[in-house]
């Protein structure tokens, strides 16, 4: 039995359960992707429920969706796509060991995330004002559109965008803590781009969900 790797020969930044940095990085990437698979299925249910009811109430969903604010939705799409770009650039700077660029890009991404939330909250508050939030307070004026189905549409809308919003908030938390670690040269992130890459993957996934949510909720064809 030959000894392959003693503790002493381990390079810096390798956790004790791993042998090499390569192995550690690969492991983290696989773990992250496995987690993203979970996220796909997580949102998948909402998309499926949406598809079933859209199929069942095609014309009613068309009429109800006119209540959504296309302009705000569009702005949010642009914001998210842009923040995704800055996140990709942040990963690039991390790979190139450019701390300054990385911090700047992370900051830009954070701005995008906050911007998204601001627009979203404006949108939500309008819905609350019009009593379009599902629940006992729900009101639907148009008597030719069944209120229950309108409420169903808004339940799906709030469930999907709300869950997406929760992901954005989690994104803000992890991106800002990453930025703090990077700024402080914490050993976890110094010289190791994998944490940035993992958080980047998460953020791109958030973007990915919105890419589907936007046309499905805001752009229903008649």
């Amino acid at each position: 039995m030959s000894s392959l790797a003693h503790e002493s020969t381990k390079p810096e930044g390798v956790f004790e359960q791993f042998e090499t940095l390569d192995q550690q990085q690969d492991t983290y990437m696989i773990g992250m992707w496995a987690f993203l698979v979970t996220e796909v299925m997580f949102f998948g249910v909402l998309f499926l429920a949406y598809a079933v009811y859209r199929w069942k109430y095609q014309s009613i969903f068309y009429e109800v969706h006119n209540e959504l604010d296309l302009l705000k939705g569009g702005i949010n799409t642009v914001i998210l796509l842009t923040s995704s770009l800055t996140m990709a650039l942040a990963v690039r700077f991390a790979q190139l060991n450019d701390k300054r660029g990385q911090l700047r890009m992370l900051g830009a991404t954070l701005c995008g995330a906050f911007g998204f939330l601001v627009v979203k909250s404006l949108e939500y508050s309008a819905k609350f004002q019009h009593h379009h939030f599902p629940g006992p307070d729900f009101r639907w004026e148009d008597p030719t559109v069944p209120a229950s189905v309108a409420q169903l549409f808004f339940s799906l809308y709030f469930a999907a965008t709300g869950l997406h919003g929760v992901h954005v908030i989690i994104g803000i938390l992890v991106i800002s803590s990453l930025a703090i670690l990077v700024a402080r040269d914490h050993p976890l992130v110094k010289g190791d781009y994998i944490p940035t890459e993992m958080i980047g993957l998460y953020w791109h996934f958030v973007d990915l969900v919105w890419i589907f949510l936007f046309p499905l909720f805001y752009l229903i064809p008649k």
Binding site: S59, I60, T144, K222
Partner: protein, 339 residues
């Protein structure tokens, strides 16, 4: 306590075939369990640790053997699948002229209505030798309508009609259960099914069922009254008008909608258009129909009455219950069972 049967009574057209299939599966189960059990016991005793046995040249892989025990179970499984599917399709395909009984499930009772208006609660009287079709709907949560002696069971779902059918074959009193957990008194949501010979059944029906009250009106006639009371006739006349399409002869026809889709008019569609008229708008019409509030203005029972009435519109007079029974009795019971 010491009275324990090992099989439920066979009291419907499905029972004997079901039991045959059940018997086959039981045979296969016992056979394979015995084979595996005996083989394992044999190996355990023969190759028990410390016992002399020929252990040379052990086999660790054997492709042919693997294929054999992959393919044989697959084929056996498929054979059972085909038989089960055949019987299932038969169970899901009621004969066209079955005697129709309407069932409402609610927490925690079964409400049954016969076409001539006779009602019963937690009991069901059915004629022997006549195919009976149950049209079921729930008023609240999901229930399951289950008669073990008939080997039939189907869920009773709110918001949608479900059906099942059977031809009772043996006189008797059999338990009836709810099989989907529906709340506190779930286990008490049951009763008995009485399979009666036809003359007895006709007499029972004619005398107003258990309450010995002759019902004033059939389901369809009750529907007609309601149809007038809710002022449906104002818009739905014998001819299509600007305000509303005629409902005469509607049942079974294809209906086109404003969004381009279409549907063959069935009970579920009629039900939907009574309580949610704006879900789908018939081509050429506007959203002008008033909304009748479910459970407040129209109960589940009312909807059924209206549907029965709408079904009869534009049709030659529906046969009376007695005529229906009579015409079915002429046919040999077997032919109705195997359509």
């Amino acid at each position: 306590m010491w009275n324990f049967p090992i099989a439920p009574p066979q009291a419907s057209n499905f029972a004997s075939e079901f039991d045959a299939l059940f018997g086959l599966l039981t045979f296969l189960t016992i056979f394979f369990t015995a084979v595996v059990g005996l083989v394992v016991l044999f190996f355990v005793t023969k190759f028990r640790r410390g016992r002399t046995a020929n252990r040379s040249a052990p086999v660790n892989d054997h492709l042919k053997l693997e294929l054999v025990w992959t393919i044989i179970p697959t084929l056996l499984g498929l054979a059972v699948f085909v038989w089960g599917a055949k019987l299932y399709i038969q169970m899901r395909t009621p004969p066209k002229d079955a005697y129709e009984v309407f069932v409402i499930g609610k927490q925690w009772m079964w409400h049954v209505q016969h076409p001539n208006g006779v009602r019963e609660n937690n009991e069901l009287h059915v004629p022997i030798g006549v195919p009976v079709r149950l049209t079921m709907i729930s008023q609240d949560v999901i229930h399951g309508f289950y008669i073990p002696a008939f080997r039939i069971q189907y869920h009773v779902v709110p918001g949608r009609y479900t059906t099942q059918w059977f031809t009772p074959s043996k006189e008797g009193k059999y338990p009836l259960f709810c099989t989907i957990l529906c709340g506190t008194q779930h286990s008490e949501m049951g009763g008995y099914v009485y399979a009666l010979p036809q003359p007895k059944f006709s007499a029972w029906l004619a005398n107003g069922g258990n309450r010995f009250q002759k019902p004033a009106l059939t389901l369809g006639d009750q529907g007609k009254q309601l149809f007038d009371k809710l002022a449906c006739t104002n818009c739905h006349g014998t001819q299509d008008t600007l305000r509303g399409p005629s409902l005469a002869g509607l049942y079974g026809k294809t209906r086109r909608f404003t969004d381009g889709s279409s549907v063959v008019v069935d009970e579920s569609y009629l039900r939907e258009s009574i309580i949610n008229p704006y879900n789908r708008i018939t081509q050429g019409y506007e959203k002008t129909m008033p909304v009748y509030l479910y459970k407040k203005q129209v109960s589940e029972e009312n909807i059924r009455q209206l549907i029965e009435h709408i079904k009869s519109l534009g049709q030659p007079a529906a046969p009376t219950v007695a005529q229906q029974l009579e015409s079915m009795a002429v046919r040999p019971a077997a032919s109705s069972a195997n359509r």
